[in-house]
Symmetry: C2
Subunit: 316 residues, 2 copies
């Protein structure tokens, strides 16, 4: 069944009604434990249980859809958007992929060494670029749900890449605010944010030279962290490595503050939509604190941890 | 420590940084089971473990802060907003209360009989009115987090009432959209929404005469339901009873679709802020589906269940 876009007449919220998602494992079991390794469709040897791969990192170059990969990208079997919906009024059309970040079922992202983690970020970047290059795609987002509390339906580490035929509301808001800041000040909002955090040092988690991890001034989630490259432009491999080093530090810090902590990652890619001056921005959203009625009813987030305290804890 | 308001420079999200919330039970354990009855501060006989009550429903009129109550309202020991912050720049000031809806630790809201549930809604209404009448309070919200997945930190059923010295973003958006609709059409947006659902009947869960439960056209959550009185004006006891009958039907339906399902309730009260024509609107937000990276990164909700299918399931 085709996915369709609906807008809440009262709040303006944008919703994809996606009946095809109802069949996915754990679709209605936000509270249940995730399935274990026995039947995991993301484990090596079960490549036939996913659609054929779109991309894989295979150091030893065996054949497609066979074991031997380090990172594997496949179409999402339960897509939130329909590839067939382009041009249909009200359709939520686009491309929805899964990025399997490790062949090892129990390996967690913070356990990857720096080289492999940089390789994962390179795949994220590649998929953003690829999706944004497809006809009809206006925006793309990489997001990752790690842990049931963060919305994961399978425990094997994976992220998702989605390309959309419309601009999602949060990205539209970000783009408006960045554009307004540039008009007003002549400067890049992310550069200014970074400079402000660095000048006081109070919200810096770690500075890896080409990239810096900071806690934003108004974190919606306890220990929310943003990883921002220092320079503009598409991220070369040294920038991706610095971002990976930041990510390892942040996830490691989170793991010591709260072992097994669920989290979301978000890497939005309006690169072709933005004028020059765009940074990559990788958000780490820990899911330690519950999101409850005040957030849904009032659009108001409550965070018990000031960002400077988070930066101290994570950066230790 | 005083709570302060912070706005995300990138997304515009509004966040209350509330260090006093860090001490509350389960503040950082969204994944952990809730504490059991042994040490529950909301159980009768432990009235001294909460601040002195602001209001209680006591059919047999024993003394304040003693057992014998059916519903009890107390100041929140871990407030998200500070009573002392009025007039301080950047302070998130206001009043934060807890509404304990039943003396029985294990009783769930859908198990209350109609009369008691109508009594609970009368207390919700009373607290909205009371908060909106306090100096400096601009908006008030009743919200309920039932179940750990919905953000509850204690398993004993309770709701929260919050009065704020500022307009929370989601209410501001709703008010703007309602005002624009009234300007454009000369009619009330909620009345029109209700009329549309009733005319097709496809999204009506149950029609109790003075109030109707409908699934909204763009539900952010699977089985999201809105309970709306048919007529304008402050809710007299017959309207509260019809709303309670709707709520019982919806929560009962949810319980049979997914036993133990976590949910949020939201009852916003911009009554004194809105011009005539305001309805009460009680939202039931089931937390069956995980809220994940796409929601946080894109502001985009994915719902696998079309609202007409939810109405059929819940209304059975």
């Amino acid at each position: 069944m085709r996915s369709r876009l609906a807008r809440d007449p009262l709040t303006g919220a944008l919703v994809i009604i996606a009946p095809d998602r109802a069949g996915r494992p754990g679709a209605f079991s936000a509270q249940s434990p995730l399935p274990d390794a026995v039947e995991c469709p993301f484990c090596p040897g079960r490549e036939h249980e996913t659609p054929p791969e779109s991309l894989a990192v295979r150091p030893d170059s065996p054949g497609a859809d066979t074991p031997g990969w380090q990172v594997r990208v496949v179409p999402n079997r339960y897509p939130a958007v329909s590839a067939s919906g382009y041009g249909m009024p009200g359709a939520a059309a686009g491309i929805h992929e899964v990025i399997i970040e490790t062949p090892a079922h129990h390996e967690r992202l913070h356990e990857l060494d720096l080289k492999r983690l940089a390789g994962v970020l390179a795949v994220y970047h590649d998929r953003l670029e690829h999706l944004l290059g497809q006809p009809g795609i206006r925006r793309a987002i990489i997001f990752k749900n790690s842990g049931a509390q963060a919305g994961a339906s399978l425990s094997h580490e994976h992220a998702q890449a989605i390309g959309l035929n419309f601009v999602p509301p949060e990205l539209a808001r970000e783009e408006r605010r960045r554009a307004a800041h540039a008009r007003r000040s002549g400067r890049c909002l992310l550069c200014d944010l970074l400079a402000k955090a660095i000048s006081t040092r109070r919200r810096v988690v770690v500075d890896m030279g080409k990239a810096v991890a900071i806690c934003p001034p108004a974190p919606r989630f306890a220990h929310e962290t943003w990883i921002i490259p220092r320079d503009h432009g598409p991220p070369a491999s040294d920038i991706l490595e610095a971002m990976a080093a930041c990510l390892r530090k942040v996830l490691g810090g989170l793991e010591s503050v709260s072992p097994g902590c669920a989290f979301n990652l978000v890497l939005a890619g309006p690169e072709r939509a933005m004028s020059a001056g765009h940074h990559h921005l990788l958000k780490v959203l820990p899911r330690l604190t519950g999101i409850a009625g005040l957030e849904w009813g009032g659009g108001l987030f409550v965070n018990p941890v000031p960002p400077a305290a988070s930066a101290r804890l994570l950066g230790r």
